[in-house]
């Protein structure tokens, strides 16, 4: 199983953080444009899912899968959105995203008084902790590792 990349968006759709580990195909557009496209798609899926659902949805949109990869979506009540792309076999990614939120984001961003919560994340400590957290997870096994 492999983890490809991670996006963190805030409530207003601003990309707070992007990180990739094992991404084989680049989009060919800038990261800013890609983030906007990604957010727009998620926004549409979310409203589509709530409108089309025959029953009340309490969790809403959780993930989608193509033949090659799976996109996992986790949104907090405060509107933070964690989006993780993995291969199709990955398990328990929802818990994993929640743990990233609790153990990495809350600890090293929310509790860090020098960080502005509305701005993209530049903290080295966060970057380091996130990287370590992802690499120790059972879903992360790949020989080729690139991180930014």
């Amino acid at each position: 199983m492999t983890i490809h990349n991670l996006y963190i968006f805030n409530r207003n759709g601003i990309l707070l953080y992007y990180c990739e580990w094992n991404r084989l195909k680049q989009s060919g557009i800038t990261k800013e444009e890609e983030a906007k496209l990604m957010y727009g798609m998620l926004f549409s899926i979310k409203s589509f899912v709530t409108k089309i659902s025959p029953l009340d949805t309490n969790k809403g949109f959780l993930c989608y899968k193509t033949s090659k990869y799976a996109l996992h979506y986790f949104e907090t009540p405060t509107g933070l959105k964690f989006v993780l792309n993995t291969d199709t076999g990955a398990q328990n990614i929802r818990d994993f995203l929640q743990q990233i939120y609790i153990q990495v984001y809350v600890e090293y961003i929310v509790k860090n008084p020098v960080i502005d919560l509305q701005e993209p994340i530049t903290s080295d400590l966060f970057k380091q902790k996130l990287d370590a957290f992802v690499k120790q997870s059972p879903s992360f096994t790949s020989s080729k590792v690139t991180s930014y």
Partner: protein
């Protein structure tokens, strides 16, 4: 996660931000942390009253400092001081390798310019605690690569 732990951290960071903004309004070039340090002094002076209520008197200065490093530190910072050194002439160096108010900020030199703000309160806290135990002192913090801090305590003899 216990909420009251977080509350201290959050209120401390707001205290720092508040003291710092006030200084900026006055348009001072040199920031001084005397208001923060004084707030720490008063808090330390009061908290030590409660913490030592079940203790016998300390036999000397070193005993007092040991109490500060263990019980006092763990009640406020949830850990003990990692290293205590002294020259036996009234200078003590307390080293905390993972200081609570800095441990979330950085592990290295990033945001180093902000670090002094987050130790001023604690300097006052130490000074206030010692003052109520009868030790008049001067406390200075030295920031090592974050999150490690050394507090230099210089005892004033009269």
């Amino acid at each position: 996660m216990v909420a009251d732990d977080v509350l201290l951290e959050l209120i401390h960071s707001e205290l720092v931000a508040y003291a710092y903004n006030k200084e900026e309004e006055k348009d001072k070039k040199e920031v001084d942390f005397s208001s923060l340090e004084y707030a720490g002094f008063l808090s330390g002076y009061r908290i030590i009253e409660r913490l030592t209520k079940d203790w016998p008197r300390f036999k000397d200065e070193l005993e007092t400092l040991k109490f500060i490093c263990t019980d006092f530190w763990s009640s406020v910072y949830k850990k003990q001081i990692d290293n205590l050194r002294t020259n036996h002439q009234g200078v003590y160096v307390l080293q905390d390798n993972a200081f609570r108010f800095l441990s979330r900020i950085s592990s290295g030199t990033q945001y180093l310019e902000h670090a002094p703000r987050y130790v001023a309160f604690t300097c006052g806290l130490l000074r206030g605690a010692l003052a109520n135990l009868g030790i008049v002192s001067l406390v200075i913090a030295e920031i090592q690569p974050m999150p490690a801090v050394k507090f230099h305590i210089e005892v004033k003899r009269s």
